[in-house]
Amino acid sequence: MTAGQAAGTAAGTAVERRFPPVAGLTTVSLAMVVVGGILMASYVPRRPPLGLPAALACIGAALVLASVFLLSRLQDFAWDRFFVVFRWALLAYVISAAMIGFAFVRDHTRGAPLALVVLMLVIFAVDVPIIIAFTVARYSSPPHSAS
């Protein structure tokens, strides 16, 4: 086997390797907070009912925690690359989330609705960097077992 063929085999493994559904769970978590955000925004400038958005935020939080748990169990994973991408993406999405939060504060959202919006924005600001960083790192990981 030539060096090129060996590299090709390793790269083939990189594509075919199986990982836990971190990106899928986190994307569903993102969808939960987006739906919750839509529900709340559709009531502006009135006070929205908080039951359903709060339930969606809780599901979103549970899903992202499940993703973090699955991530923490990964071995032979490109953690250095994951954290580099995660850090920069987190910075970008914290700025995005802060701007959305600012718009809600500017529009006199206060009390429990504001707390719920902040929780959803925190989940949003963590979800997207996890998805991006995981997608990048999974194709950069050493070609051994993934879990």
């Binding site: 090129g4 590299a7 090709g8 790269a11 083939g12 990189a14 594509v15 990106a23 986190t26 994307t27 993102l30 969808a31 987006v34 739906v35 955000g37 839509i38 925004a41 559709s42 502006v44 400038p45 009135r46 690359r81 991408v85 920069w88 993406a89 970008a92 700025i95 995005s96 701007m99 959305i100 600012f102 718009a103 500017r106 529009d107 979800d127 997207v128 998805i131 991006i132 995981f134 997608t135 990048v136 194709y139 950069s140």
Partner: protein, 203 residues
């Protein structure tokens, strides 16, 4: 077809392979422009500045919609039929620009649009535009999940892969397929946005 797995590799004796473009995941020179746009939008919202909000929403929305439609329905299908090395060359120059451009346009359009709707009373339940705006939230919500959950991660993963000394053509091809498919879906959904926004503007 040439070996596309490792894009830097060329056939022996074929001479030196053309230099691959140096791929920058985030074009640093564009960051001041992004910062200026964000500050402008924040100032517009803070001051409830009607012209600026309208400017941000209309200009951002027009560019977002047009780029999504063009990339999803014109560039995407062309890109999908190109050989992997050609796709890679295109992506190396195109995708870093999209990393900065699209999130900035989306942020500008949505933040300004929401404030504008509030300012003009379109969010009031009695407004004939209220239902249309809620539908537009749903369309944007679906597009946001697709863009943030699938499209953007694929975009950045392609760029990171292309920075490697030996980029894997199979990984790039797989991620580019995902990029092209999701860009097509968001492009089609932009047609719904056009219908909704023209309804809102004329009621």
């Amino acid at each position: 077809m040439s070996d596309t797995r490792h894009l830097q590799a060329g056939p022996a004796g074929a001479g030196p392979a053309p230099a691959r473009p140096r791929v920058q995941v985030v074009p640093v020179r564009g960051l001041p422009v992004v910062a200026a746009v964000v500050v402008f939008v924040v100032v517009s919202i803070a001051g409830n500045w009607l012209w600026a909000l309208t400017f941000c929403h209309v200009v951002g929305g027009a560019l977002w919609t047009a780029i999504d439609l063009f990339v999803g329905l014109i560039i995407g299908p062309i890109l999908g039929r190109l050989p992997v090395p050609a796709r890679t060359e295109f992506a190396a120059r195109f995708m870093p620009k999209m990393v900065l451009l699209m999130p900035t346009l989306v942020l500008m359009t949505l933040a300004a649009g929401f404030q504008l709707a509030l300012l003009e009373g379109n969010l009031a339940p009695s407004s004939p535009n209220h239902a249309w705006l809620v539908v537009s939230y749903c369309v944007v919500g679906v597009m946001a999940v697709i863009a943030l959950g699938i499209l953007e991660p694929a975009n950045i993963a392609v760029l990171v892969e292309m920075r490697k000394a030996r980029p894997d053509g199979e990984i790039i091809a797989r991620l580019m397929r995902r990029f092209v498919l999701t860009a097509g879906i968001t492009g089609v959904m932009q047609v719904a946005t056009l219908i909704i926004m023209t309804r809102v503007a004329t009621q």
